[in-house]
Structure formats: C-alpha cells, structure tokens
C-alpha cells in the first residue's frame, strides 16, 4: 500500500487528519523547512495520539549541521531513540554516523533534496541499512519509475506542495535591508515573501528563517494523476508538503489524495476515470497555491547551451 505522508502544520491539523498514513513533524534547530516546529513534549503527545489511530510518525532531523551543532544532534538522536517512532528523516550524512551510536540506522530516511537522482546511488544507500530514501524532485516520471522498479529500497517522493529550489545559509533579506541601511533589517524574518525575476512573471516564494534563506518553485508539485504508475512501480510513499499551507488547505489536499488512492485500491478504473475530477477538486480548495507536475515530463538539460546563458523565458 502506498503510504500517504503529510508534514503537519499544527497539533490541531493532526487531530483532524485521521485518514492519512503518517505525519512528519520536527523540532526547531533540527528540522528544516517544516511548516511548524513542535516541542519535544508536543512530539511525545502527538506520538501517543497517532499510535492510537494506527498512523505512523516520522521525525524530521533534516537540517545541514555545522560542526558545533553535532553535540546537539547527538543529544537529540539519543532522546529520539527512546521514542517508538517509525522513521527519522535526515539530509546530512553526519546524522547517519550519529544514528549508528543509538541503533537508529534502520529507521533512517535519507532525504538529501537534490542528491538522489539515479538508481545506482539509491542502491548505494540501500546498502547502508537505512529504511527509505526520498528521491530528488527534479527528475522525470520515467526516471522515478526506473529507480523505484529496481526495488532496492523503499522510495519516497514529493507528492504535493512547495518545491524547494534554493537554500542559502545567508540571511538574504536581512543582508539586503542592511545594505539599504534600513532601520529594521530583520523586519521580514520568518515572513512569506516572494521574488520576481526581471524578465519573468513567475512568483517564487521565499522565506528567511533561522536556517538562512529558502526559495521555492513558482508552482507546487502535484502528482495526483500518476498514482497508478507510481504504485505499480513500487514507489513506497508520497509526501504532502505542509509548508505555506493553512490547516484547512492542507487538510483539503490530503483528502483529495486520500480519496484518489482509495479509489485506486478499490477500483483502478474508477481512479483512472476520475483523474480530472481530482485536479478540479484540488483547484477548488480555497487558498490553494498554483500547482503543476514539476519535472515529471520535463527532462532537465545535461550541460548547458552557452548561447542561451539567460535561459529561455518561461
């Protein structure tokens, strides 16, 4: 069964969302780009709640750790090792090293954002004893299928939501305001902003937080029309990204995906004939961000074209 995972926006959301398979939650200072940060005690309460409902819980420990944060990371994994959680999402291989100390390797889900783009590298990590890998968002459906069909390890992909495309350690909004000699340079910290490139119209969401500055694609990812191929070819889980979503929007999206995959398991033809309906239902969610199918049918260009340095206008 395909696992439907949602990164949670609040405790309230988790209480309401009793139909998805799993949640992603995390703590400030350890999780990266999470829609909400929970305290350790809140996470324990959430664990109790979701276990009662037979849902799974994954803790995101996916930040890029600098040397002086290793002690903290070590302490955190030790704490986590006492919890009956289903997985730990990480993006920094230092976490793998620490997880060995606490016998947590089998719970690890390697999610390095951009680094897993081929089946051989996925196989490499499958040999490391970890539970699952999240593959990159920038590859095609054919590539995803080729990777997943090797069945070397559980495969997770982004199903719906914000697509991160840039992470700087720098405070790129604050730095700019300091350059402008603004009297409140940190005014926009933790606020959802967007940027527009001079010859393009797209609005790229951007946020500066304690981990630096993050920029996202102008369109959310949406794979709802391809669940059949993904399931058939052994993709294990899809993530619905809660970042920038209100509880209601996230709940709405999750419900459509839940219905779609239930349709699939009950009657594949019903799923197939309902594909447009799912899109319409998603579009009718009040406040939902614009979405597309990302790189599923768009192969990125290997090497560059030096005569087109600025790229084509999209």
């Amino acid at each position: 069964m395909l696992e439907l995972i949602v990164s949670a926006t609040s405790i309230d959301f988790i209480k309401k969302c009793d139909f998805c398979d799993a949640f992603i939650i995390g703590e400030k200072g350890k999780g990266l780009r999470l829609p909400h940060y929970f305290s350790f005690n809140e996470m324990k309460d959430i664990l109790n709640l979701v276990k009662k409902r037979n849902q799974k819980l994954y803790i995101a420990c996916n930040k890029i750790f600098h040397e002086d944060e290793l002690v903290d990371a070590d302490h955190y994994l030790k704490q986590i090792s006492t919890l009956d959680i289903d997985g730990i999402i990480f993006g920094d291989l230092g976490i793998y090293q620490i997880a060995k100390k606490y016998q947590l390797v089998h719970k690890l889900i390697y999610h390095p954002e951009t680094y897993l783009t081929n089946y051989e590298s996925v196989r490499f990590f499958s040999n490391k004893g970890i539970k699952r890998v999240s593959i990159a968002k920038e590859i095609t459906l054919d590539d995803i299928i080729e990777i997943a069909s090797k069945k070397s390890i559980e495969i997770d992909i982004l199903g719906h939501g914000a697509v991160n495309m840039f992470h700087s350690m720098r405070d790129l909004v604050t730095n700019y305001y300091k350059f402008l000699k603004h009297d409140q340079p940190t005014k926009y910290r933790n606020e959802s902003l967007y940027i527009v490139e001079e010859i393009r119209d797209d609005k790229y969401p951007m946020i500066e937080d304690e981990n630096g500055t993050h920029i996202f694609s102008a369109y959310d990812m949406c794979i709802i029309q391809h669940l059949d191929e993904l399931i058939k070819n052994h993709v294990t889980s899809i993530r619905i990204e809660g970042l920038f979503k209100t509880d209601d929007v996230l709940l709405g999206i999750t419900k459509v995906y839940y219905d779609a995959y239930r349709d699939y398991y009950h009657d594949i033809n019903k799923y197939k004939s309902n594909k447009d309906e799912y899109i319409n239902r998603l579009k009718s969610i009040n406040g939902i961000q614009p979405f597309k199918d990302g790189f599923l049918f768009k192969k990125t260009i290997y090497k560059g074209d030096e005569n087109n340095e600025r790229g084509k206008k999209t």
Binding site: I64, F65, H66, E67, D68, L70, D92, L93, G94, Y96, Q97, T114, Y115, T117, N118, Y119, E120, S121, F124, A136, E138, I139, I147, V163, M165, F166, H167, S168, M169, R170, D171, L172, N175, Y176, K178, F179, L180, E191, L193, Y194, I195, V196, E197, E198, D202, K203, M206, T213, I215, A218, F295, T300, I301, Y302, K303, G304, R310, G311, K312, T314
Partner: protein, 403 residues
Amino acid sequence: MSAVKKPELLAPAGDLEKLKIAILYGADAVYIGGKEFSLRARASNFSIEDIKKAVDFANEHQAKVYVTTNIIAHNENLENLAPYLKALETSGVKAIICADAFVIESSKKVVPNMEIHLSTQQSITNSEAINFWYNEGVSRVVIARELSVEEIKQIAKRSKADIEVFIHGGMCVSYSGRCTLSNHMTDRDANRGGCAHSCRWNYRLYNQSDELISSKEGYYNLGSKDLMAVQFIPELINAGVDSLKIEGRMKSIHYIATVVGTYRKIIDEYCANPKDFVLDDKYFQEISRAENRQTSIGALGGKPTEDEQLYNVRTEKPTQEFIAMVLDYDENTKYATIEQRNYFTVGQACEVYGPKFRKDYFTVEKLYDEDHQEIEIARHPRQILKVKIPFTVYPYDIIRKKR
C-alpha cells in the same frame, strides 16, 4: 626548513595553456574537467588525449592532475563511467573529484589506486559527514564554502580525511549542490553542468500583500561576491588544512598566473617563517591586477553579511592590463617573441610578471610584426610580435601595463 606543514596549492585549468601557466606559476596540483561527468561543462573540457598531455607536463614539474567528475548523475548518465575512469587512471590522473555516490563507489571498485576527493557540491559542513565518506574510500573532502575559519579548525581536528578549502574565486550563494534555480527557471540542470547562474540575476522582492519591498530604483539581488581569502591563509595553514583551492576553470591565463603566483608567494613566505610573516598590502595589490570581480571573505569570518553580497552589478569588465604573453627570448638580439592579448602601442610602460613573483619593467621602444615590419600599434588579438626587452624573459611570462 619549513616550520609548519605546507598545504598544497590547487589551481583550476580550463585548457592546456592555462594548466601550464598554473603549474609554472606555482600550483602543486591542478584540476581540470573531462568531457563527461563534469560540472562547468562550458569550461573548455579536456579530451583523454589532452589529459595525457596535461599529466605529462605536470609530471615534468612534480605537479598533480585531478579531474572533476562531479555531476549528480541521472539514470542515463550511468553508462560508460567505468571505462572513462580507467582511461583517467591510465592517463596518470592522481585523483577524481566527485559528488555522486555511484561515481564514488565505482571509482573505489574500478580504479582503486586513484584518490577520490569529494566535491564541494556535497556541501559538507561537519566532521561526521566527512568521516562517513572517508569510510567509503574518500581520501579528501572539499568542505563547504559555508564554513568559518573557526569551524574549519574544529573540523580539521576531527576529520579522518584530508581537508581541502576554497580560498579564491566564484561562490555559490546557496549550499552547493542543493540549488536548482537553474533547473526550475531555465530547464538547465545545475547539478549536471548547466548552471545558468540564476542567483546572479536581478529580482524584485514582494511581501504577501504584493507590496514591492525592494528598492524602487534598483533590484533585489541574491548573488555573492567572489571569495578572496588572502588574510586567512596563515590561519588555514595553522589549522592543518591539506589543500588550498582556487576556483575558476573559466578564468583567463592572466588571472591564473596572478592569483596562483600570489598565493604561492604567501604560502611559501608564511611557511618559511611564520613568526615574522607580515600580510603585506602587496599581495592584495597584486591580486587586484587580474581580479575583475568584487571580492569578499565569504563565510571565513563567520556568517556572511551584506558586505559579502553583490548588489546591483550587471557585468564585470575584463581588465585590459594583460597585453602580451612571452613565447620566446633571444639573448643575443634582446628581442622577445610575444603574443598580443590586449591593445598597446609603442611607448607603453610595461611590467613583466613571471613565476616566483618575479617582476621587471621596460618600455616598448621597438615593435615588429611577424613579417619583420616595424609597427606602432599592437591591435590584433593573438598577433605574434617581436619587442625589444633589455633583460631576459621566459616563455609564459606575462607582460602587462605598468601601474
């Protein structure tokens, strides 16, 4: 005798001529890109034949050649890696610089005697991550350009692998390897050699109420100034860093000669006598001769501030100072054969700049073209000329305008 461990000086080379310059001006090792599996696809990449020539030249000068194979591969890029790695090994390449787990794993299997260096594309920021890759056969890690000197000191103490640190050149403002602006904005794959440098473009910044919150006249920019770590070299050497790396496979030979020559001088002088070493202004002056982009200290001094950002700079002008390169010198006639690189005329006051920070000065008095016709103006790019120089000069010496 050296009082401290001398790190390797590692320089980029976009082609064979630049490779020779880099080595002659003091690089202990150079890194080049092959035709496949390499980022910086547009930096005139080396064929296997060229790589052999590069290694031959390097061997003559006790230098090493590393080859970048640092793409994050897609399924269709996986084929032909093994024969390519073997060809590199046969060519005498000492190390490959890679970022994809499969490339690393394959190298360990296919070419066990070649060193594996982990590219900065993996943005490694802590010693545990280094030690993960060390256990996988990586002997050296090019650590992230997000690290301060203090962090580098701590990491160097705990790292099992050798540490390589960028000291000069272009910077990603994003954690390297984790940026796909180019993919999303232009379809060009940043992790497969297609980076369009979208972080250097002009933007406008808005808040959620659609209010423009960047300057109304100018643009909002993300890009980073280039890195210049001159002032941190002593500390990096003391930290025990194994290799100091200059970025820029697309840079000119003047840039390579100047930047490599200057860092060579700093490293040698510091290591020879750390106590009495003074960070002379001449080093900064020298680099500014060839550096046409704004520089900063990157993250070496801590989290970058507005001083490390590049705002409202559209293009950089190439410096016009480099006017010719020496091809040959006739001791009897005192005439040098030179190749023109920028416009100059008779009467031009010149500085000859050679390896080991050698400098001498002359004024162009007599100038001839290839057909021995006396001329007044050298206006044709790459034109072969003869010029009288009263002292001995050597092939690959740089002739530039005197300041």
